[in-house]
Subunit: 188 residues, 2 copies
């Protein structure tokens, strides 16, 4: 998606060879017009695919998840990282965070994932792929089906994209960064 | 806002006299059309007020914050509850959570709140008011100005609304619940 690439080139920052900072428009400060356009782009990419629910994980997936949900005109569900005290029954799994070098738990209330659901998983970043695999696990616990994965920015030089493709998922990335070197951002 | 009240009556659930569960459309599963309409309603309520930034706090403020930011056509900034490892300089304060009976920290990168900013604070729920006061504190640390507070659901029987009004803030709530009794939801 050319608009997103422009934003990344103009406002993103490569820190070393692994970190891409996009917090001025994607995951701390958010450009709402860009966000809604990314939602529409996912709708185009998954045209003809039966989808009745968008699933993401808090916190930075929520904005792009809402944009996608609005474009598809279906509900957004965001997995929580802590079990709310008022939630009686839920699907849950553990996700390993490479950034923090520890496991965290994600959960979705049983009312919000049902066997008939055709789910599109959305997230802002794809690095090692563990968050998406955790969301896929929740969908499968519910007996529902993952129809695809939509990602704003994929770091193509980390293992996540390959892992998801190998597990049979269709992955649509709006921008794939294949390397970060000396402050330079190189797209696929 | 009539539409929101209908959603609350049809899909909300009073648990005891204090908890209002709205997780089927507001803060776990999200109805994107309702969300975007709430954003437009804030825009109407604050017509004529100079606002160049929306500020909220992760996680459940993000969706309604994005909806408001889109309606106002200004950036959304969401305060984080943990300091990201890549964030060098930030404003920070502590917020006491009555639900969890402990303090948590919120922070915003210094790049994203500037002295010239005219900020509208948005959140999904107003109960005791501490989260909003924390956000106000961050705005003031930056030398910026809070132009108002927009809330989806205010629990009018808790102290937050009064606290914010007494501190001189303009508060616009899309629905005010004045009591929860025997499973009954009573609006102001």
């Amino acid at each position: 998606m050319e608009l997103l690439k422009e934003y990344i080139l103009n406002n993103g920052k490569a820190i070393g060879s692994k970190i891409l900072k996009v917090d001025s428009f994607l995951n701390h400060q958010i450009d709402p017009v860009l966000m809604m356009k990314m939602g529409e782009e996912f709708k185009k990419r998954f045209q003809g695919v039966e989808i009745n629910k968008i699933l993401t994980v808090e916190a930075s997936g929520i904005a792009i998840g809402l944009a996608a949900a609005y474009a598809f005109n279906v509900p957004l569900v965001f997995a929580k990282k802590k079990v709310p005290s008022t939630m009686a029954e839920f699907y849950t799994t553990k996700v390993f965070s490479f950034t923090k070098n520890k496991d965290y738990t994600i959960c979705v209330g049983k009312d919000f994932l049902e066997p008939h659901d055709k789910v599109l998983i959305i997230d802002d970043f794809l690095a090692m792929g563990n968050a998406v695999l955790g969301l896929k696990e929740l969908v499968e616990q519910a007996g529902a089906e993952v129809m695809g994965v939509g990602i704003a920015v994929t770091k193509g030089f980390q293992g996540g994209e390959k892992l998801l493709l190998n597990s049979g998922l269709r992955v649509e990335s709006l921008a794939v960064v294949d390397s970060l070197e000396n402050g330079e951002i190189n797209f696929r």
